[in-house]
Structures are given as C-alpha cells and as structure tokens.
C-alpha cells in the first residue's frame, strides 16, 4: 500500500496551481473573473465544459451556490483548451525552481508517476479519469504535474466515495476537518457555506458524538477522522495493480525530494484549505 508520505507529497506537487501567487492573474488574462472562477474552471476543465452540478458532484465540499457563481459562466468567457494550457503553464513555471533543486530527478519521478496513472482502476473515480484522459505532456516538468494531478484526484475520488458511503456531506466533512485542526476556521468562507449551514454541519457531528457542545473534537471524532483516512488509503490501494503499488513505493524518496523543494520555495504552506498535511 502506498504510504501517507507518498499521497501527501503528490498533493504538494499538484497544489502549486492553487497556491501560486499569480494563479488569479493567469486565468484573468484569459477573461475569467476572480480567483474562484479560475479555480472551478481550471480544475473541472479536464471533464469538458461541465455544468455546475457535475462540479458540485465531483469536487465535494463546496456550497453549490459558490460553484454556480463561477459556472457555467466561465465557459463563455474563456475556452476550455486555453484554460487547460494556462493551468499546465502555471504548473511548469511554479514547479521549475523545485525541479532544479539539488538531488531532484524530475525525469525519473515524472515517468514513474505517469506509469502509476496507467495502472489505476478508474471505475468510480471521475475526476481522476478526466485528468488521466488529458494528453500527456512530453516535457519532464509538465509530465510530472500531469501525473501528480491524476494521482491527487484519484485519492480525492476515493476519499469522496468513503465520505459518500459514510453519509458525511460536504459541510460536515469540512466542519470535521476544522474541528480536527486540519484546516483553518476560515474554511467556512473558503467553501461558501453560510453560518446556518455551518452550524448544521457541527450539529451533525455532535449527533454522532464526534464534537462536544462547544464544537471541540472528541476522542471518537478523532478516531472517526482517522478511520476515514485509513479507509481512503485502502480504497486507493484496491484500485491499484501490483506494479503501480510497487512503483509508488520505489518512487517515494525521489518524490519527497521534489515535494520538499516545493515546500522550501514557500508556494504551499500548512494548514491550508485542502486539509492535507505536511508530507
């Protein structure tokens, strides 16, 4: 089974497109309006020009109204292909310093990660599937980010399946992440939930005994949050063949070197709204 460090390192590489200082400006240059429209359009463009409903379904965790503010408008303001190109270029530019760091072997890590994507069972993983269907870049840094993105969304899709099966909706999943200290309290705004919806999310957690009356996470809440992560890892492992799993283990060291170099560049910091942790 791939380790936690593998998944977290992949997440760091993928996340540069969301935390790069010029993320907003790059998409605005194409005609999109504001950070969030760039975010929703660029992350969902691998699926085509999806309606807001599809994005609400596949992103999980965002208040529907927040998605509807950006989509489908984005598709009339910029072309899907231009958005995908801008996103890949942003990734290349932001990752460049890290790929030049001492000890970094971008070509090898990119090749190994891309081979892992080929070994994925995509059934039930829509966002990973859409990313895997995109043309593979021929340059090392482009391929590195392409593969890291498909792998990141693969784990995200597995995580969403676990949340869905557990009956944990978007707002509860976010309140749980905040209560567990995985992300900051501004998360409510970052995901577009109203104060009432947020309170209802906490109430759901309280009814499961996962937070106490003042919203502090309980022992069983912590354990439940950990079980969700463990279940996600198991679901991910079940969809990988032996070869892909083997590659995930052997590439880990090289992958971590790159992830550490990205962290050193300061683009990605913790805690952040993805609720993932330091690799």
């Amino acid at each position: 089974m791939p380790t936690t460090k593998f998944w977290r390192s992949v997440e760091v590489l993928h996340d540069v497109v969301y935390f790069a200082p010029d993320a907003k400006a790059r998409y605005e240059a194409l005609g999109l309006k504001g950070y969030w429209m760039g975010y929703f359009a660029s992350r969902s463009a691998p699926m085509g020009t999806p309606p807001p409903e599809m994005v609400i379904a596949t992103f999980h965790g965002f208040a529907p109204r927040m998605v509807q503010r950006a989509l489908p408008d984005a598709w009339s303001l910029a072309s899907r292909d231009d958005i995908l190109t801008a996103r890949l270029d942003l990734a290349r530019d932001t990752l460049a310093p890290a790929t030049e760091a001492e000890g970094a072997d971008t070509a090898r890590v990119a090749r190994e990660l891309a081979a892992i994507v080929s070994g994925f069972n995509l059934a039930g993983k829509p966002l990973a599937a859409a990313h895997a269907a995109l043309e593979r870049p021929t340059d090392d840094t482009g391929l590195l980010w392409w593969a890291a993105s498909a792998i990141r969304e693969y784990r995200g899709d597995c995580h969403i399946a676990v949340l869905t099966a557990a009956g944990l909706d978007g707002v509860s999943a976010n309140t749980l992440a905040v209560a567990a200290g995985l992300t900051a309290v501004e998360q409510r705004n970052m995901r577009g939930w109203t104060e009432d919806e947020w309170a209802a999310g906490y109430a759901q957690l309280a009814s499961r005994g996962w937070v106490d009356a003042d919203g502090t996470i309980t022992e069983s809440g912590r354990s439940a949050r950990q079980q969700i992560e463990d279940a996600t890892d198991r679901v991910c492992a079940a969809g990988m063949d032996r070869e892909a799993t083997g590659r995930a283990i052997t590439v880990e060291e090289g992958l971590r070197t790159l992830a550490r170099a990205v962290l050193k560049s300061g683009v990605v910091s913790f805690p952040n709204p993805t609720a993932t942790q330091h690799p």
């Binding site: 699926m47 409903e53 379904a57 529907p64 059934a123 039930g124 899709d157 676990v162 869905t164 079940a238």
Partner: protein, 274 residues
C-alpha cells in the same frame, strides 16, 4: 427527531424507478434506434446515450461513472460516437425512444403528478459525490409531462447508482468483482461476463478475490456470508441514498411509491402480457 427519521423509502420505490429507466437500454428497438442519428451498433448507442448528459465525455470518464464495464468495451464506442452525433442529438433521440415506449403504458395525465412528485425528490438530493445523477439533473426539464417524468426518473435512478458505486468502492469491490458477485447471487444474466467485456482471466481473478473474502466456495457458489453481504449491500445502498436526501424528498418518495409502482407494472405488462 422529526417524523421522517423513522420513515424509510420502500424498496419498490427504487425498483420502480429503475424499471422505468433501464428499459430504454434494454428494449429491442434500442439496438437500431440510434442508427438514425449516425451511431454504429447497439453498444455505441448504449454508452453514448447514457453518458451524453456528461457532454462529449472521454472514455475514461464513462469508465469511471458507469463502473462495471471492461475499459476496452467503452473505448470501442467512445469517443467515436461524438464524431457521429452530438450529445444533444443523442439526448433528444434517447428521450424520443423512452417516451415512445413509455407512452404505451402511461398517459400524459398519469405522468404529470408522478413528474411533480419526482421533481420534489430531485430537488432534495445532495449531489456531492453523485456525478451521473448530477449530469442528468443539469439537463433542462422539457415541458411535456411524459418526457419530464422519464427524465426526472433517470436522475433518481442514476442517483441510486452513484450511491451504490460509492459503496462498492468503499467495500473494495471493483467492476469485475461486483459483476462476479451479482452473477453468483443470481441477480443478473449468466452471460454478464461477456456483456461487460471481461476476459476469462479477469473474471477468474475476480472469483479468486471473492473466494479470499469467503463469499464464494471452491465451486464458485455463493456462500452464506456472500449471500448476506450481497443482500446487505442493497439495504446499505438504500441507506446511503436516504442519508443524502432532505426530509421533504424522502416524504415525496414515500408518498409516490404506490403510484410509481403502478406505472412500472403497466410498463412491464407491455413486455410480458399476462
């Protein structure tokens, strides 16, 4: 606790919703219907018509959202289908086929209140994590009552399917495993292996995985624990579905169960006259 906490949507609701949707893929005319808009062969008609709400989807996205099909079967039909017909043309053609058949069993007057009830159900579905339902829900509702009824029914059918897929994933069951289990449980056609495109090797590996879990015996028969798991899987799917519905949506589903069941029965009579 609100009253609806104790309310459970009866199984016939979900079964009727399913029957009122899946005939569009199973009726004999489905094999040739899509030729009129340029699609080639019955599988292309199936994959294109069910995935068209996603837009001109990649084969990978279809593999992901349909679950259970061997990837090569999907690749044979998609994306080629989109070079022969647009998703919009495919959707219109599917709706025409659906209402052409359904109209023989259900009148527009009967369809209107059913559609109204399902609209309440669909309005109370949480779509997070339900991609195929979400895609269907994004389609604009036609004014015709029979069309509206069929389309809303399709949203609810795919909603349950999406919930089921999430559960299969959470249980570590991939596409081949899920089909092996269904065949062993007698829930689907004996030739499901070829219908879903799995090779003998893939099928045997699926059997082996179920054997390791104690759900199949040495002869490939379903064990007691396999039977229990498979039965539980349906109940748990229903539970997942209900967990993501508002009280209003659950109440609307409960209230419409008898009437939608009557519609499903009327449809069945078309295919197997008493």
């Amino acid at each position: 606790m609100s009253q609806t906490d104790a309310m459970k949507i009866p199984t016939p609701f979900w079964r009727s919703v399913e029957a009122l949707n899946n005939f569009v893929y199973l009726v004999p005319e489905a094999a040739t219907h899509y030729k009129a808009i340029g699609l080639k062969g019955s599988w292309m008609g199936y994959f294109a018509s069910r995935s068209a709400p996603l837009g001109a989807a990649s084969p990978e996205l279809v593999i992901a959202t349909f679950h259970g099909f061997a990837p090569h079967l999907v690749h044979r039909a998609i994306p080629d289908a989109w070079s022969f017909a647009t998703p919009e043309a495919v959707l219109a053609s599917r709706l025409e086929l659906a209402t052409g058949v359904l109209g023989k069993a259900v009148t527009a007057e009967q369809a209107a209140p059913l559609a109204d009830a399902l609209e309440k159900v669909v309005g109370g579905l949480d779509l997070a994590g339900k991609p195929l339902a979400a895609a269907h829900a994004s389609l604009s509702l036609p004014p015709d009552d029979l069309e509206r009824f069929w389309l809303l029914d399709a949203v609810v059918r795919e909603y349950r399917g999406d919930c089921h897929i999430a559960l299969l994933l959470a249980e570590g069951l991939n596409g081949v495993d899920a089909n092996v289990l269904n065949v062993a449980a007698g829930r689907t056609f004996p030739n499901q292996q070829s219908l879903r495109g799995w090779s003998d090797e893939e099928w045997a590996a699926g059997k082996e995985r179920l054997r390791e879990r104690g759900w199949l015996d040495g002869a490939g028969q379903l064990t007691e624990s396999g039977t229990a798991f498979r039965n539980e899987l349906e109940d748990r799917t229903d539970q997942v579905c209900e967990a993501w519905m508002t009280d209003e949506a659950i109440a609307a589903a409960v209230d419409v169960t008898e009437d939608i069941r009557a519609a499903a029965r009327a449809l069945r009579t078309l295919f197997s006259p008493a």
